[in-house]
């Protein structure tokens, strides 16, 4: 140490002494020289004044913060509440899903005095708690999570037990207050707040980004329409005991899904308790051979290509051979039918003859343009890929012209039907609410004239064809029945008894191309006829009535004026052969 000190150079303090001396006598020198501004003490005073001003400013700032705190900061902290995900609401603001503060229960074994008492008390307070899990936490050497999702009431009850070593931490839990209502549209999340199905998965990132209760995420569905759709679908399912059922309501101009139901349903609050069958969104994830609803596409293509007009005639007197198939009519008219009659009688022969004239190339091009060969364009991740013919030849034409040999999801059918009915443009479906003045663009697939003709033909099918049971007094409803026989792999062919029965409806059919129109699809997978239907389980018997009831119930919500013409309400036109067509 001494070596170090000795080795250091000795500072020359002389200059410091000289500096102090100069400062001390600066005043005298300045006065002697008549230059008072050089007085060092004046400089000291200036410095002191500057510091004083700085302190006064700081004091004033501190006082201001005390007296006028930043209100907006407090408000923001108080409201945000640490949400993980934004609230989901329907198009009218009704709550569909929201995060609620719950509590996780933690155990600190070192702080527990009486393990036996703690064990007994917790098991009594939490009946669903597994004893093995509790024992594991009690025997752990560290603080551990025991159970989550405790409601404030449950937390208060356990807290009141006064158990040492038991603590709580707040956590957010996703709640679906409507239970099973709109379950397949809303979907659900995992316990970590990650969307797994439905809108929760489709808009996962957006919902997380806008996690503020003041800006809920609005879906396109209307809860009133959704409820009516689910109610009628459930009633139809209870009456006809199908394997599953689907209901869809869309706005054909905007592509907004106003209601989407899949039966059976589940409670998204407890997705783990539901079977895969219940969780399956049949509207998006299942594909079906739709049967005769596809005739709407074939007829529209025939009109749009100029191959046929509404008055064109087709010979349906004898079975028709096309490709390897011999095509029969379910209800053989055995006469020459006009195009409208082909549609009304749902004639397979007439439709196949029309498809033959259209040709495989044009038919496939239209099917592609209508989006029937791809998953339905919608935000849902579960939108299913259709099953389409490998080769568009005469066999494929014969089959697909009346909905065989091509399996599409109900949403894909809804989207393509919308294009036929909205003036001719294929718009994407969406489950996100669009602005009121939104103009959705899409590629034109058929002309406006064809679209208007399809509206008239579909209306004619309800007033005098197979869709009579969907008619609603006071409303102009159009539609097409569909009954697709199911292909049974074990049989190596189509079943005569297992069917997919559906009804695709549109309302109102009157008005020009700018009129707001809505599409309704009801589909039942393997329904069973009963005495009331005469044993029939075709689309006209099991799906059309449900579609009519849905339209009747939802039209007031959609501001579709029902014409209160008592004469028309009383005198109902009987369809030509109601319900029992394919």
């Amino acid at each position: 140490m001494s070596f170090t000190l000795q080795s250091l150079p000795i500072p020359n303090w002389r200059w410091i002494k000289d500096l102090v001396w100069r400062i001390e006598h600066a005043f005298e020198r300045a006065r002697a020289a008549g230059r008072a501004e050089d007085d060092t003490r004046l400089r000291i005073f200036v410095v002191l004044a500057i510091f004083s001003i700085a302190f006064v400013v700081l004091a004033a700032g501190a006082a201001k913060m005390v007296i006028f705190p930043d209100v907006s900061r407090i408000e923001a902290v108080g409201r945000e509440g640490g949400l993980d995900r934004a609230d989901l609401v329907d198009r009218n603001g009704a709550v569909l899903a929201l995060d609620l503060e719950h509590y996780g229960l933690y155990l600190e074994p070192h702080d527990i005095w009486d393990v036996g008492e703690t064990r007994r008390a917790l098991l009594a307070a939490l009946p669903d708690l597994q004893a093995a899990r509790l024992d594991h936490a009690l025997n752990s050497k560290h603080r551990s999570f025991l159970v989550g999702g405790l409601t404030p009431t449950a937390k208060a009850q356990i807290h009141d037990l006064g158990l040492p070593g038991v603590s709580f931490e707040p956590e957010q839990k996703r709640i679906y207050p409507l239970g099973s209502t709109a379950a397949h549209v809303i979907g659900f999340t995992d316990t970590g707040g990650l969307g797994l199905e439905g809108a929760e998965a489709a808009f996962n990132d957006e919902i997380r980004k806008t996690a503020d209760p003041r800006t809920p995420f609005a879906l396109s569905v209307d809860l009133r329409i959704q409820a009516a759709l689910e109610d009628e679908l459930t009633k139809a399912a209870q009456e006809f005991h199908p394997l599953g059922a689907v209901g869809v309501v869309t706005n054909v101009k905007t592509g907004e899904v106003l209601g989407m139901a899949s039966w059976p349903s589940f409670d998204p609050n407890h997705p783990g308790q539901a079977t895969d069958d219940q969780k399956l969104n049949r509207a998006a994830s299942a594909v079906y051979e739709m049967g005769s609803t596809f005739k709407a596409f074939t007829v529209a293509i025939g009109l749009d290509t100029g191959v046929a007009t509404p008055d064109s005639t087709f010979d349906a007197r004898v079975p028709f051979h096309l490709g390897y198939r011999t095509i029969h009519d379910y209800h053989a008219a055995k006469k020459i039918l006009s195009l409208v009659e082909v549609f009304q009688h749902s004639s397979n022969i007439g439709t196949a003859r029309l498809a033959e004239q259209i040709g495989p190339k044009r038919l496939s091009q239209y099917f592609i343009a209508l989006g029937l060969t791809r998953p339905a364009k919608i935000e849902l991740k579960e939108s299913a890929m259709p099953l389409i013919p490998h080769k568009w030849d005469d066999d494929a034409v014969a089959s697909t012209s009346f909905g065989h040999g091509i399996d599409v999801s109900p949403l894909a059918l809804s989207r393509a039907m919308g294009a036929l009915l909205n003036g001719g443009t294929l718009v994407p479906l969406t489950i996100h609410k669009l602005p009121a003045d939104a103009k959705v663009a899409g590629p034109r697939v058929v002309s406006e004239k064809t679209s208007q003709q399809m509206l008239q033909i579909m209306r004619a099918n309800v007033t005098g064809g197979s869709g009579g049971k969907a008619d609603v007094p006071g409303l102009s409803v159009g539609g097409k029945t569909g009954t697709g026989e199911k292909y049974i792999k074990a049989l190596g062919g189509y079943s005569q008894t297992q069917q997919v029965s559906s009804f695709a409806a549109v309302f109102p059919t009157d008005g020009d191309a700018k009129t707001d129109r809505y599409f309704v699809l009801i589909l039942l997978d393997e329904p069973h006829g009963n005495a009331a239907t005469g044993g029939f389980s075709t689309g006209g018997w099991v799906a059309a009535p449900a579609a009519g009831r849905v339209i009747d119930r939802v039209s007031p919500f959609l501001h579709v004026q029902r014409q209160a013409n008592l004469a028309s309400l009383v005198a109902q036109t009987k369809p030509a052969n109601p319900g029992d067509e394919r």
Partner: protein, 113 residues
């Protein structure tokens, strides 16, 4: 410069004033911090209260949504009130009212319309 030469209790006036200002500043900062601390505590309490109330509001919103489930309301209204969806025959526009009344005088008389 009387400020620098005059002495009070043996100290130069400028020093006394400086010390006085310093004490005043220290006191004001202390008071400001004390008041700020008190206000911070109050703010924290109000914030906690807001958060609690906010959670209660959200809980109540969830409960209202649960109680107003369409299927529940429909079941209650049909079971206890005999209500159902509005039928077309129960709906008429004001413009059509006169023509319907004139067309159905007997129905009006019998109270069916």
């Amino acid at each position: 410069m009387i400020l620098f030469t005059r002495r009070v209790w043996g100290f130069r006036l400028v020093d006394v004033i400086g010390v006085g200002l310093l004490i005043a500043l220290i006191l004001s900062v202390y008071l400001a911090k004390t008041f700020a601390g008190r206000e911070r505590g109050e703010i924290a309490r109000v914030e906690a209260e807001i958060a609690t109330e906010h959670n209660r509001v959200r809980l109540l919103q969830a409960e209202v949504a649960h109680l107003e489930r369409p299927d529940r309301i429909e079941h209650l209204s049909s079971t206890y009130l005999g209500l159902g969806p509005v039928k077309t025959t129960q709906e008429i526009s004001p413009e059509a009212l006169s023509s319907v009344l004139s067309a159905k005088p007997t129905a009006v008389k019998e109270g069916r319309l």
